[in-house]
Point group: C2
Chain length 309, copies 2
């Protein structure tokens, strides 16, 4: 009956490494009966990171209550992004860096959330406050989450504190983090190897916005032409998924991680998307999202406000 | 347009001193454009504490959006316990030690919640982590909040960490905290000076439990006979308020702070109360709550679970 620690569904590198790094934090706190697990298979970027630092992939779980009564959430807090049977277990703690929504408890709990670039940044601060040891491997995993979520400190979610943490992690790590980071990000952009469905599922999150069921997926690439070339097939896969899961809006945006620009595709409440960004979809069904790279900071807030109108 | 910092409605000593202590924390962080305010008049216990340490009472506000766009919540997070127009301002931060409910944001924010005895305990830890200065006055205010919420470390909400913090505050304060604390608690129990309505309003909080509107008030006393003597009038005042505000359940429990026992009165869904505590109201309409002193830890969780059935 270990306490299970996990990040969100469709896990990204910050979700997976946060779970591993916080499990280590709990062990150093004297609570060794914890296990980092995942709510889905690792993506290519995360596989690259764990392979690089020779850390085994966490076990994938679908439900929690069949094996524990206590869980800790990292890198998320919203019910629809969490384990399916969360209401059957007790959430002991949350470490996160997103908005707060769809989360209620019956009793007091530990929560640490900060509006900074990665969940690993928050966890790094907690290690430091407690004077806990950060091995080169843990530093590498923390940096991987930070690099992934901030696109190597280029996303607008990057704070001065993240930059400082990156510099401190560089001193603790055994590897040149910038060079490693670019390799890791590129490892996650091998779009040719993925089906259209895999592309729109890999980094997708669901949001409830004023009663509407909104799905937002992000695809990282080093060349937007790789998206344009298969645009019709991607839109068809989106339509199929939207029909199956009853999304009021399905927004997919592809991000050029080298130039920090995105292009959006949407099905459903496209009027809300146009109003949120003050732009129109063009004749190619694309919405130009110049400068947009962060779902959390640049996409979710304006859409949330638009749905609240 | 200062950022306003405030605790919950019907403020108690921990709510008021947390706002003052966190405003000072923000100032030491270099953010001096903050003001501690209150969502209601001070109770007698809190007045005693502020008078004792010669600290002026915070200004009382009814709404926030008319004077600021940014607020910080201390000692609460639930909408129905907060400022009436909270949805019109941005919550920058929450420091709390209660359950989490009825709170959503559009964007990431700072949250620090811990399941410990007082909000001031959390704030004390934050001061310490940052190496901020704690004056004898601030130590006295922090101790006042901790003493009030834990009934001088006797409530079951008291953790080992709270006891350690109390000992550390004793070293920083200019006064014998145990002797001062008992005087402060007694100053809050002058029931004779209060109307029946004042008694049931002074430390009352509203909760939404599975769609039901639940009101729970606590009255501290050093002699439960002071409650029994005016029980009929208290029940009449409860009935009037329940009708006016449409509570599905109005539970008032009077706590003997010297002996750590309570007696409960309820109107509305009394069956839920009886089921939650596994006891029946007696012929005098009283529910014996031996050993119960904490709304947060001993009353809200079993009731929440009962309403969820």
């Amino acid at each position: 009956m270990s306490t299970l620690i996990f990040g969100h569904q469709s896990p990204d590198t910050d979700a997976i490494t946060s779970a591993i790094d916080f499990a280590e934090y709990k062990k150093q706190s004297g609570d060794s009966d914890v296990e980092a697990v995942a709510l889905g298979e690792l993506n290519d970027e995360t596989k690259f990171a764990l392979d690089f630092f020779k850390v085994p992939a966490p076990r994938v779980i679908k439900t929690a209550a069949n094996e524990t009564q206590h869980v800790i959430l990292v890198d998320h807090n919203e019910a629809q992004q969490s384990v399916a049977d969360r209401d059957k277990v007790t959430v002991d703690a949350v470490i996160d860096h997103h908005r707060l929504a769809n989360f209620e408890t019956a009793a007091p709990l530990f929560i640490r959330m900060e509006p900074i670039g990665s969940c690993n940044s928050v966890i790094y601060k907690m290690y430091k406050e407690q004077g806990f040891k950060i091995t080169p491997t843990t530093a590498g995993l923390m940096a991987s989450g930070l690099i992934s979520d901030t696109l190597l400190l280029k996303s607008p979610t990057t704070t001065d504190e993240d930059k400082q943490i990156f510099a401190e992690l560089q001193k603790l790590a055994d590897v040149d983090l910038k060079e490693y980071g670019l390799k890791m990000l590129k490892a996650g952009t091998n779009l040719a190897a993925k089906s259209d469905k895999e592309l729109i599922d890999a980094d997708a999150k669901s949001f409830e916005m004023s009663g509407s069921n909104v799905r937002i997926a992000q695809i990282n690439t080093v060349d937007l032409n790789d998206i344009y070339d298969r645009q019709d097939a991607i839109l068809a896969a989106m339509q199929e998924e939207k029909d199956a899961d009853n999304y009021d809006l399905f927004l997919v945006f592809a991000t050029d991680i080298l130039n920090s620009n995105s292009v959006g595709y949407a099905l459903g409440a496209t009027d809300k998307v146009e109003a949120a960004f003050g732009k129109k979809f063009d004749a190619n069904k694309r919405l130009d999202l110049a400068g947009v790279v962060s779902r959390k900071k640049q996409v979710v807030p304006p859409l949330t406000e638009e749905f609240a109108k």
